[in-house]
């Protein structure tokens, strides 16, 4: 990870109450940056501002790569239907000033997007998923330093989505990728850094794991050898416990006021109850839980 490749300062575009407001983005070079937020949060507006398709009312944008080293793939790609896939990608390469990359660039880009077999087909007959893949091929063909993807997996089937995420994950370190998504599992899978937008404001920006660690409710699944119901009742009376209830299979689910309180308190409580601790594991920590804790809305 290097210094910020993309920074914005106080970026604002107001569409009468919607848009983006005072966004200070900082995207380090070489990372995969996931931009997440509910529908209408301002993700597409923010990406459009970064790519110059829209202009801010106030604030500044600084991108440390030349225009031809940036590629943008919108959520809905459209092309002239009477061109072949190779011609569309060739046009993208030509517009990016990348003719000198040689004759295999188009074929390589199509192959990396899974369209090698459709290279000579006219794109007017492509499905929505194939068109989305073609958009990715157009973005990749000029070997951009900064790749911006708006909901890249939205039109893909599960297999295609997994393939695309694998492709994006493979770019880590070699290029900077900013991608928006409302599928939090996708972001958690590939993004090193995450920015959370809600109602046009950037609520969080930083490492994906830090977000999960910071905003996740400290919660453990505890299994003891002994009276599980009695232990749950004892736990519920502790001041540091916010919730304790038996779950299926003799497991007790304990939520603590803090990570430290739980990690110290649960073993001590087991010992004081005269029980034996069979297992203690954190409840699954995921971006969705952190996102909900941070925003209080569904993604």
């Amino acid at each position: 990870m290097t210094g910020p490749l993309v920074t914005t300062s106080g970026l604002t575009r107001d569409y009468g109450g919607t848009g983006v407001f005072g966004v200070d983005l900082a995207v380090p070079g070489g990372v995969i940056y996931g931009l997440v937020g509910p529908n209408g949060a301002g993700k597409t507006t923010l990406l459009s501002l970064l790519t110059g398709l829209r202009r801010p009312d106030s604030g500044t944008i600084s991108i440390s790569v030349g225009r031809h080293r940036l590629a943008y793939c919108p959520d809905v790609s459209e092309f002239d239907g009477w061109l072949t896939a190779t011609e569309v990608v060739g046009l993208a390469l030509s517009l990016a000033g990348g003719r000198k990359r040689g004759g295999t660039a188009c074929g390589d880009a199509l192959a990396s997007a899974g369209l090698a077999d459709a290279a000579d087909r006219q794109v007017g007959g492509f499905s929505r998923g194939m068109t989305a893949r073609l958009g990715l091929a157009c973005a990749l063909v000029a070997d951009p330093e900064l790749l911006i993807l708006d909901e890249p997996a939205a039109a893909l089937d599960p297999a295609g989505r997994a393939e695309l995420l694998g492709t994006v994950a493979g770019m880590r370190g070699s290029r900077t990728v900013i991608f928006s998504s409302h599928i939090l599992a996708d972001v958690q899978r590939v993004a090193d850094q995450v920015g959370i937008l809600r109602e046009g404001r950037l609520l969080y920006q930083g490492s994906t794991q830090d977000l999960i660690d910071t905003y996740l409710t400290p919660c453990w699944l505890v299994r003891i050898a002994g009276d599980a119901a009695g232990f749950a009742a004892s736990a519920a009376r502790q001041s540091w416990v916010t919730a304790a209830e038996p779950a299926a299979g003799g497991v007790i689910r304990i939520e603590a006021a803090s990570l430290e309180a739980g990690e110290r308190g649960i073993p001590a409580l087991v010992a004081s109850c005269g029980a034996r601790l069979a297992a203690m594991e954190p409840a699954s920590a995921d971006l969705e839980s952190a996102f909900l804790a941070l925003t209080g809305v569904a993604g």
Partner: protein
Amino acid sequence: MSLWRLEWLRLVRTPRAIALCAVFGFFGLVEPFVTRYQQDLVRHLSHGARIQLPPATPADGLSSYVSDATFLGLVLVVVVAAAALCFDSRPGLATFLRTRAGSVRELVLPRFALSAAAAVVAYLLGTLGAWYETAVLIGSLPASGMLGGMLCGAVYLVFAVAVTALAAAMVRSVIGTIGVALAILVALPIAGAPRDVGRWLPSALADAPVSLVNGTDQLPHFGPALAVSAVATVAILAVATVRLRSREI
């Protein structure tokens, strides 16, 4: 694959070039024929009534062609140009082009130039066809008047394509662009109804071939309209480019 080749493929791989050549060519070949035999056609259709028409002159043959070419042909030219110049009508396509092209001018220039070139070529083919057909069936046309008229007609079509570019910069949809462009082109002859004003307007060039062939006017008479059309075409394209540059997607 450059933007110029893209426009060439747009013309030849879709029905656009064929439609332009077919329409202008059809009128060029059919109108002099109809003019030559209109007395026979009228007699055949009048069911015995005697209708006497004056003998057809070579200028009549060309006049019929020019009349159709400046109406239906012009509409088709505007439709073809609008389809090429309205690249913002599809947001995904607009994003693809605008985030990659170095400037809006790079997008506008090939679309304008090849649309205008296709219109001019089709118009000239149709006019040559009308010239040949008229010469064979009715009588010869003065070459100087024909060449001058072809120049005027071609300049007018180029101006019409520039007006379409301006319309595409005012509205996003193809249908809206066609409507705005045709409204401007129809309004011009109305604005130029007074002859002293009209001879300065590009619309004066539309009927110039007939005036030049029948001797009503000489080419220098259309000098002001030719000059205004050339300057207006450049100015309109500049305004259209500036407007398109400031448009957001």
